[in-house]
């Protein structure tokens, strides 16, 4: 068990690379992306060229590596540069554990290689409009036709990177009458004309993410786009994709809070009052706010890093179980385990922290940060989404509460 708090040289190199990208490209265009609600296509290209779009694909399959902490370190750097870019990368990274695990040799060439080459961006397409944050319950289903599969009735809400991604990762019920968690998984090319992207994304924050709803109905998918055996899909979604998504989401909001904090610090140091020639930083109330923000940010970061190290160990376990064809048998009912609940709790802590820190940053910057276009104003809007992104903070709190009270989990109830 690796309990070291030090980064490995690999993690440190990835962080450094992401830091350079964030400063050189992402931070420079963040304001424009927000103002024009423009997808950060050029940023994604730069990240692709650097090799960092393959973070999450193991080296044995040609990727840069599947170290969770390295991915998280890169995401925080991206988020301090441009929150929309970081969120699009997170939804791409969330597709990679399933893809890397489930692809066969032929699919590896077709689907993994373009990602490794930095040319493909994907979107995890999970939550459905009908069931919201309840990711364990899908309404969409697949019909197995002779020549192809047809995905029916799958209305995915708030899918990221629409019109700019190359593929969606889409879990749907194995058949119309299957249980909501008896799933098949598809990699669906975004070129397929049956995919309906609905409306234009015009969010309060994260304005460059192109996060529209997407409707997969009568959507014909080639036979080679089905990934793995059905029995492994739900365990992989809950035990591999969801934990990565949750620590990644926490990290994006950590980066947003860090950016607001940096900007607020810079502001209060430079803001000098004409009467006593003192800066706002010398006001005790400001010092207290800064201290609170620093403490909140540090605690969340430490929790995320600790969970990433545990996740790295857990992913090795998953891999061994998958290779031994025991994944579904052993992992099937582990999603209520304390380990996963600890990860889910970090999502709540991070998102509440980001709202709190960006709010304090506005407070100490005063009117300047209330004006449209100020970095802190943008971070304040960006930070608000985290709490309501699925699984919402409220759902997680209910799940944790049920566990503590010894009551059945929502996914156990929904099968009855």
């Amino acid at each position: 068990m690796d309990e070291s708090i030090a980064f490995t040289t690999f993690q440190s190199e990835i962080k450094e690379k992401a830091h350079t990208l964030a400063n050189t490209y992402l931070a420079v265009t963040a304001e424009e992306i927000d103002k024009e609600s423009k997808f950060p296509q050029k940023n994604i290209k730069h990240i692709g060229k650097s090799g960092l779009l393959s973070l999450g694909i193991p080296k044995s399959k040609g990727g840069i590596g599947d170290d969770v902490l390295a991915t998280i370190l890169a995401l925080e750097e991206f988020a301090t540069g441009c929150a929309s870019t970081a969120m699009s990368c997170l939804m791409h990274y969330s597709t990679l554990p399933v893809l890397s695990t489930l692809v066969n040799k032929e699919q590896e060439k077709t689907f993994l290689q373009p990602i490794i080459d930095g040319k493909w961006l994907g979107s995890a397409s999970m939550s459905e409009a009908g069931t919201g944050s309840r990711l364990w319950h899908m309404n969409g289903y697949v019909v197995n036709k002779k020549e192809h599969y047809t995905i029916q009735n799958s209305f995915k809400s708030f899918c990221t990177s629409n019109n700019y991604n190359n593929y969606y990762l889409v879990p749907v019920k194995k058949s119309k009458n299957s249980k909501p968690n008896d799933l098949s998984m598809f990699i669906v090319s975004s070129d397929i004309k049956d995919i309906k992207v609905i409306g234009k994304w015009d969010g309060m924050g994260l304005r460059g993410t192109s996060s529209n709803p997407v409707y997969f109905n009568d959507c014909k998918v080639p036979k080679n786009c089905r990934l793995g055996k059905s029995k492994n899909i739900f365990p992989l979604l809950m035990c591999s994709v969801l934990p990565l998504y949750l620590v990644g989401l926490s990290t994006v909001y950590l980066g947003i809070a860090q950016k607001a904090y940096n900007a607020a610090l810079e502001h209060v140091k430079k803001r000098v009052y004409s009467d006593d020639r003192k800066s706002a930083a010398e006001i005790e109330t400001v010092q207290r706010y800064v201290g609170e923000m620093r403490i909140q940010i540090s605690l969340v970061r430490e929790s995320i890093h600790k969970q990433c190290k545990l996740l790295n160990n857990f992913n090795e376990i998953l891999k061994e179980l998958y290779d031994s064809d025991l994944l579904a048998d052993v992992i099937g009912n582990l999603q209520g385990d304390n380990f996963f609940l600890d990860i889910a709790q970090i999502k709540v802590s991070a998102c509440e922290m980001a709202i709190n820190v960006t709010n304090k940053a506005v407070q100490i910057c005063g009117g300047a940060a209330y004006v449209r276009g100020h970095v802190v104003e943008r971070c304040f809007r960006d930070a608000r989404a985290g709490s309501i992104m699925g699984p919402s903070d409220d759902i997680i709190k209910v799940i944790v509460g049920k566990k503590e009270l010894g009551l059945p989990f929502p996914w156990e109830e929904s099968y009855e």
Binding site: E320, L321, L334
Partner: protein, 114 residues
């Protein structure tokens, strides 16, 4: 107490077909040492089963050493305590290859769940 638990553990492991799959080509000596009593055991894993349980340290080039109080070790090998959690809580010291430690976690997961 610990010896009987280890004997039960041996029976459980050897009768579990899932464990057989997981321990294929895994042949370490697992050395179990109590630090509150002078007890030491060697669990010999060989050919997808525990072939012997010895009340001595039988040296081998491939060893995984587990050290802790007798009641903690007993709780781990009868499934009451998760070894990864025990290690995190400082109740257990494990020395050896990282992959062997992961294998031990998997055996615990297969036998007793999370």
């Amino acid at each position: 107490m610990l010896k009987n638990t280890l004997l039960d553990f041996q029976k459980q492991v050897n009768s579990n077909s899932k464990i057989k799959k997981i321990t294929k080509n895994w042949n370490p000596h697992i050395i179990i040492k109590t630090n509150d009593a002078p007890k030491i055991f060697t669990v010999i894993v060989n050919d997808s089963k525990i072939s012997a349980l010895l009340e001595t340290h039988k040296k081998h080039t491939h060893e995984l050493v587990i050290e802790g109080k007798e009641n903690i070790l007993t709780a781990i090998f009868n499934g009451e305590l998760n070894p990864a959690q025990a290690a995190l809580d400082g109740k257990l010291a494990i020395f050896g290859d990282h992959k062997d430690q992961i294998k031990l976690d998997i055996i615990s997961l297969v036998l007793w769940g999370g």
